[in-house]
Amino acid sequence: MTSELVITLAKYGVMFLVFLNVAPIMNWVERRACAYIQDRPGPNRVGPFGLFQPLADVAKFMFKEDVTPAAADKVLYLMAPALALLPAFTTFVVIPFGPDITVAGEAVRLVVANVDTGVLLFLALSSLSVYSLVMAGYASNNKFSLLGSVRASAQLISYELALTLSVLAALIPAGSFHLAEVVAWQREHVWSVIPQILGFLVFLIAAFAETNRLPFDLPEAESELVAGFHTEYGSMRFALFFMAEYTNMAALSALGVTLYFGGWSLPWIEYPHNLLGGILGLATLVAKIAICMAIFVWVRWTFPRFRYDQLMRLGWKVLLPIAILNLILVAAMTLAGWL
């Protein structure tokens, strides 16, 4: 029991370290990439290529004055940023990050929570992330914040259905909620993105909406709502929201590559079943997540923002029917034995 606990904690520690570093690195990547896209240098003064800019930012956040609005609901106002991090740092426990390995005579399955309900746990925890946005907007007692929160909750319900249906379709061929089984199926057959291109497109669009990224960043649309739900937040509290956003993006990317792009594995390559194989698996997963994050940044600085009614229409009238169609198609193909 104790060794099991230690192994689980060690696995969580590894994943935690990976996901903890997402936000500072993405802070630099996002600013440099947007500068590149807009044909300007971007932050390049602190350290080589401006690499130490995130450290300077953290120092700045630490020393800024921490203001709580007088009319705010104090308890909820203080709780919201902390709650934002909770789903961000728990969802990745169901993502497998390597083959089954043997270390010091102990068989280890490289997934933090080795449970049957894998994907459902991910979806359940990530669906709680909207509460921090809603709490922040309501507690700030500010019109712009409240509007941002209302938008966030409406957007989440509209896109969660399409997201869940596309995830469900991706699980059908493997016949299991356990993501390790999904990866195993893809290693035996083919990356799911090929038979399920429709489902992948729905997942991709819904993922942008779920993480409140442009073109769907209506909850914080800066040209209409100042900064949306976090208008009243400054210093480290703002930094926590910022961190949660990027960590959520990374977690959803991890789910996406695990469902559609073989997760930690590469086609035709067998990793050794020891510590080296585990490290290679983790490196593969991180590389795939990095590609996804680059696409997130690229899209953000390329597309204009959707209008709110367009966002709702797209979710209910386009994505949901396509997701249902994809579900039926995949189920039929699996029954016919094509997958």
């Binding site: 909820l76 449970v115 709680l128 809603v134 929160s149 909750s153």
Partner: protein
């Protein structure tokens, strides 16, 4: 360890359930409801039913209560409005409801006693076993529930239309959501 977790989350569930009923601010009540649902989900997991626990969080805490919050914030209800029926009437209705509920519970235990439940095995709580039961022995009730939900959805759509109004619902929604 498990007993400790059980008592912690059971107490939390009861405490937050009381806040749901008592608190004057609708937002606080709704957020407490989320906490209650989450704690009950933890209890499901402790009982060896992680599937039910995950669904509880996903469907209730993740979707339905978000809808509650959305409506509350859209209508901008700051404080509980004084109920149309007086406080006294409310109390009596609550008392009658509580007595009926306790009576039903008592009747159930009196008739069935406390059935001895064997230890849970991985087979008895597996998703496959659940699905097999649901889609074979309980197929008819399952389909009826589906039909009932469909009727409710259609009913809500019809009820949302103002009487005497013609034209599609879509046109109306489009008008309301168009940016000014």
């Amino acid at each position: 360890m498990e007993t400790l977790i059980f008592f912690l989350f059971a107490a939390l569930a009861l405490g937050s359930a009381i806040v749901v009923v008592v608190h004057r601010s609708p937002i606080w009540a709704t957020l407490s409801l989320v906490l209650t649902l989450f704690c009950v989900a933890v209890l499901f997991v402790l009982l060896g039913a992680p599937f039910v626990g995950a669904l509880q969080v996903l469907v209730y805490a993740g979707a339905i209560v978000v809808l509650f919050l959305f409506v509350i914030m859209l209508l901008n209800i700051q404080r509980e409005e004084s109920a149309h029926a007086g406080r006294g009437a409310q109390l009596w209705v609550a008392l009658v409801g509580a007595v009926v509920f306790l009576g039903m519970l008592g009747l159930g235990f009196w008739r069935g006693g406390f059935p001895a439940v064997g230890p849970l095995t991985p087979e008895s709580v597996s998703l496959k076993a659940l699905a097999a039961e649901l889609f074979s022995r309980y197929l008819l009730p399952f389909e009826i529930v589906g039909l009932l939900l469909l009727v409710a959805v259609i009913g809500a759509t019809v009820a949302a239309r103002r009487p005497g109004e013609t034209g599609s619902l879509e046109a109306k929604v489009g008008d309301e959501e168009a940016p000014s």
